[in-house]
């Protein structure tokens, strides 16, 4: 990575106008995955002086600034008590502690990394992304948004649904990328299932969810839902895991997860 200028933005407006001065300008969050690219930048724009590092506990939702680090997020009592703690749990699976002291919630989501544990953990909840210039989009919509989004991610809000959640990251060693992510929640009497790192970015298993919505949830329905989930999403091989094994794992953990949240 080569960088000509490093700039601390004084306001979101300032950051936004700087960003659009050149297509070689970019926002830097934690900057961890950025390091691995061979990109050349004119100006990296740092948002850390804009107060985007707070977690606010509001009546119906929790609002998390984009510059909140993964470590601050997982450690926050508000997040830990939110939705049976599953979001904190998902974030804690990312690399080591030092890494999580640097990586941010905003960077983890905005990059839409296919291996993201953060996205996999949040996607089964009611999560909205807030941008500058002012715009709001659900996490699910953002993941399917075509092309690079033009605005700056400033906050995310997580609805307090009193959800019950389950999160499983399958990995070889503790510092490994996920071989597969399985997340499940039950909120407002509806079951949500998502699979990430198949190796594609996490996605909801809408057909399986629909099936569970329409049928009494017993052992048979759980088995059936796990089958449907694996049929509706795409899986493929990676260097260290086959498509077939991914599917076998997904079925087992969907069944286990559903039983846990019921």
């Amino acid at each position: 990575m080569r960088v000509k200028n490093y700039y601390y933005a004084s306001s979101l407006e300032d950051a936004f106008s700087r960003l659009h001065e050149s297509n070689k300008n970019a926002i830097i969050a934690g900057g961890l995955w950025m390091k691995k690219t061979a990109q050349e930048y004119d100006t990296l724009i740092d948002l850390s002086k804009l107060g985007l590092d707070k977690i606010e506990d509001k009546k119906d939702e929790v609002v998390v600034g984009a510059m909140v680090t993964l470590r601050e997020f997982e450690h926050s009592p508000v997040i830990q008590s939110l939705n049976s703690g599953m979001t904190a749990f998902a974030v804690r699976e990312v690399m080591g502690l030092q890494f999580r002291n640097m990586a941010t919630i905003g960077g983890s989501i905005f990059g839409r990394y296919p291996f993201s544990d953060v996205i996999a953990g949040l996607i089964v909840l009611d999560v909205a992304l807030h941008f500058y210039p002012e715009a709001k989009m659900s996490l699910v919509d953002y993941l399917s948004y075509k092309g690079k989004y033009d605005g700056i991610l400033t906050h995310i809000s997580i609805k307090k649904d009193n959800a019950k959640g389950y999160f499983k990251k399958v990995k070889a060693t503790a510092l490994d990328f996920p071989l597969l992510n399985i997340s499940i929640s039950k909120r407002n009497n509806k079951l949500y299932i998502a699979l990430g790192s198949r190796p594609m970015t996490a996605a909801l298993c809408l057909k399986a969810m629909d099936y569970l919505d329409k049928n009494p949830v017993d052992d048979e329905a759980i088995n059936k839902a796990s089958e449907i989930a694996c049929e509706e999403l795409m899986f493929s091989d990676s260097t260290n895991i086959s498509k077939e094994y991914r599917i076998d794992l997904a079925k087992v953990y969907i069944r286990r997860g559903l039983k846990e949240v019921l």
């Binding site: 070889a172 060693t173 503790a174 510092l175 260097t239 260290n240 895991i241 094994y245 076998d248």
Partner: protein
């Protein structure tokens, strides 16, 4: 065990631990001259190609670039980078830089510039035109392949080792005791078993790093992270045509080696840049280079055939092995031979044993020395085959091993036949507590309560697996180490050794041995090691030789120093030497005494002034093997086959442990590295031969979370030929995990996983296949 040991076999803190924890300037790169040129390497993008044209003019014209090395302007001398003795038992098939590149990541050109950024920019300006050839990536297809990886002239072997480059053979070897075919025919039960082992990366935390400068007399002084400073000096002297005494190699603290730093990395390049420019130069591999441009463990295919009588007597072992040495033949022959020589003698009561096969070149990252050195591959083959044999015989695997394994005072004909690339050395096992190790390990893991498997409910089962292992202690009649002890004028000692501390703690161990013999404490011994100008010779840290070979040298020197001191004291006390008693502090006769301190002062300043200094050397006449048993309890998920090792038990006979805590650290660290090879680590390539797992993000070292309980015990054992009864302990810990985990998988699910690493996916596939 020798009684009343005060320092040896007692708790002694590591001598360098505090400085390292406090972050003192310690490692090679910390000693680079502040204004050093930074060297960077242009590396081949092709698995096999010839450089048709290379144009460095633009790079050389870049402001700040001081030097560009290509095969056209460096010495063209065939050599081996293996870092072994002389003559080296590895083919001399490497040039510093060559017109051929033989793996993705092989060296093309080296740039030296005033800073890293300019060096990197300059790499991009080098124009190379390649003639690209079809690579050989599968070692099973390498023999007599139409692609010849080493077609060049001038490469050679120092002695006959089956080197046949036109057939892609780096080395080959065959031996037979008795008539294996005939004995197998007479056996009641014969099993066959073939396993494949993967490449493994050393993963030492300090990358390969060296730096050079010319001293005021224009001598070349190099700090380098190496396991073999004296071999580096010799090989460099010959290859560069520079007199040996014009080169000084200094090894400061080393951040881990595991065999990876026995070979050359940056040394030639910083040397050449400094010689050409007159300026100091430094080079540090990136982590990607450490993975993809250094060395790995040799991948192998090992086929075992074992025959036994129905009462469980193992009568014949036939082992055929193919080994993949990658693009260059560092350690090709010797690692290969250890698959036989340090594995097969475990079952020494056979009527016939055969070992043989080939080591083949491929267009992959070269293989080289790596802790275990063939023994871990062979152990996986043999010890899973023994479990298979036990099953065929309906015998308990522990009973089968106890019945057939090596016992004290026994021998194996293999010792005499197979050595380090040459003939071996006959030896009787004067110390072998393998029986005890096997029995004690079974107790510690509570084998008979847990064998073969228990259902734990909640989709979990727990099974147990076991294996036994042996290694060696240096290479007899080949590895030499030396030590010098000098008396200081206050009665403290200066100990200099060639022995190479690479983090295993050999400085501490050497100081303990000397302190024990001189009846003093470690704080009275100042140790300085591995500086070719200042310390005596030592082959270096490899082949499990340091404690045994270098330790014996230190011990011998200390004994001589004691005798010398008593002689000097006797003169002062006007007595016969046999009337003088020395307790480490003072010399006494019936009526007189003088303290060591006073004696040292007197000899320096007062009367009969002289420097008391003693040097002794040692080379082994035997290589007494350490032995061990290993047991693991492993918990599996019945549906996903994910597993974790609940407990790993190792009972080790390494003779006297000079430093029990450091010895335990060697075993524990070896076990976890072996567990990495057994379960997590895999060097992966794409179909063009580019390494994919060239980062800690994609190559998985075990973390603290993969490690649960490890129990290590040492057998009460005393090796007469070792220093204070010690044998080696550096390598043996790594040997067993692949076999132990594989055997535990079998005991859990009835399937044998015959390739490494053993992943949950492989187990699931095997179980599905079995249930078909």
């Amino acid at each position: 065990m020798r009684k009343n040991l005060k320092v040896v076999n007692n708790k002694t803190h590591s001598l360098d631990g505090e400085a390292l924890m406090m972050g003192r300037k310690s490692y090679s790169d910390d000693y680079a001259e502040p204004n050093s040129l930074v060297c960077k390497m242009l590396r081949s993008p092709h698995a096999f190609a010839r450089i048709k044209n290379i144009d460095t003019s633009k790079a050389e014209a870049l402001n700040g670039v001081k030097c560009v090395l290509t095969y056209k302007n460096v010495p063209h001398v065939a050599m081996s980078r293996a870092g072994q003795g002389d003559p080296a038992p590895s083919p001399m098939d490497k040039f510093i830089l060559d017109e051929y590149v033989r793996f993705v990541g092989d060296e093309v050109a080296c740039v030296a510039a005033i800073n890293e950024r300019i060096a990197e920019e300059a790499l991009k300006l080098i124009e190379v035109e390649y003639e690209v050839y079809k690579p050989v990536l599968d070692f099973e297809k390498a023999y007599e392949n139409e692609t010849v990886i080493h077609p060049e002239d001038g490469i050679k072997q120092a002695f006959e080792m089956g080197f046949d480059p036109k057939k892609n053979v780096a080395a080959s070897y065959d031996m037979e005791v008795g008539n294996v075919e005939k004995v197998l025919k007479e056996c009641d039960v014969v099993i066959e078993h073939t396993v494949k082992t993967q490449a493994q990366a050393h993963g030492m935390l300090e990358p390969h790093v060296s730096n050079a400068r010319l001293d005021e007399h224009n001598r070349l002084v190099i700090y380098t992270s190496t396991q073999t400073p004296f071999h580096v000096r010799r090989i460099m002297s010959r290859t560069l045509g520079l007199p040996l005494n014009k080169i000084r190699i200094i090894k400061p603290r080393v951040g881990g080696g595991f065999g990876g730093k026995q070979q050359f990395h940056c040394e030639f390049f910083v040397a050449l840049v400094t010689l050409k420019t007159g300026l100091p130069a430094k080079m540090q591999y990136t982590r990607q280079e450490v993975f993809a441009s250094s060395y790995t463990r040799h991948p192998m295919k090992i086929s075992m055939k074992i025959g036994a009588s129905k009462d469980g007597r193992i009568k014949a072992i036939d082992c055929h092995t193919l080994s993949d040495t990658g693009a260059y033949g560092e350690h090709a022959l010797t690692v290969f031979m250890i698959v036989g020589s340090k594995v097969l003698p475990l079952y020494n009561k056979v009527d016939a044993v055969r070992f043989g096969g080939r080591v083949l070149y491929t267009n992959k990252v070269p293989a080289g020395a790596y802790r275990g050195y063939g023994a871990i591959q062979g152990n996986y083959g043999l010890e899973t085959a023994i479990d298979k044999l036990a099953e065929a015989l309906h015998m308990d695997p522990i009973e089968l091993r106890l019945k057939n394994s090596m016992k004290e005072k026994e021998t194996s004909p293999i010792f005499e036949i197979m050595g380090e690339g040459t003939k071996g050395t006959a030896m009787i096992m004067e110390s072998c507590k393998l029986d005890y190790c096997i029995k004690r390990g079974a107790e510690l893991i509570d084998w008979y309560k847990k064998y073969p498997v228990k259902d734990m409910g909640n989709n979990k089962v727990r099974s147990v697996g076991m294996a036994i292992a042996m290694q060696g202690s240096g290479i007899p009649f080949m590895d030499m180490g030396a030590a010098t002890i000098k008396l200081n004028d206050d009665g403290t000692y200066m100990l200099t050794v060639g022995a190479t501390d690479i983090g295993q703690g050999s400085d501490t161990v050497m100081a303990q041995i000397v302190a024990e013999e001189l009846m003093t404490t470690v704080d009275k011994i100042t140790i300085y090691s591995s500086d070719t100008d200042l310390t005596p010779f030592d082959v270096g840290a490899y082949a499990s030789s340091t404690t045994y070979v270098s330790g014996n040298a230190a011990w011998k020197t200390a004994i001589k120093m004691r005798e010398r001191l008593i002689k000097e004291a006797a003169k002062v006390l006007e007595a016969h030497t046999y009337d003088v008693e020395f307790d480490g502090v003072k010399f006494t006769t019936k009526d007189k005494e003088i303290t060591l301190k006073d004696l040292a002062h007197r000899l320096t300043y007062v009367k009969d002034m002289q420097q008391i200094s003693v040097t002794e050397s040692y080379f082994g006449h035997v290589s007494p093997p350490p032995f061990m048993s290993a047991y693991a309890e492993v918990e599996f998920d019945k549906e996903t086959y994910e597993f974790k090792v609940i407990e790993y038990v190792a009972v080790v006979d390494c003779g006297t442990t000079i430093n029990p805590m450091l010895a335990r650290g060697q075993v524990e660290g070896g076990l976890v590295q072996g567990l990495g090879m057994a379960a997590y680590e895999d060097v992966l390539y794409n179909s063009n031969g580019k390494m994919l797992s060239d980062s800690f993000l994609y190559y998985h070292l075990p973390t603290t979370k993969e490690v649960n309980k490890i129990t290590v015990e040492f057998a009460d054992s005393y090796e007469e030929t070792g220093p204070f009864g010690a044998k080696s302990v550096g390598e043996i810990g790594i040997d067993t995990p692949p076999a132990v985990i594989a055997n535990a998988v079998y005991n859990a699910f009835g399937v044998r996983i015959t390739s490494l690493p053993i992943t949950p996916e492989k187990i699931m596939k095997a179980v599905k296949e079995k249930n078909k």
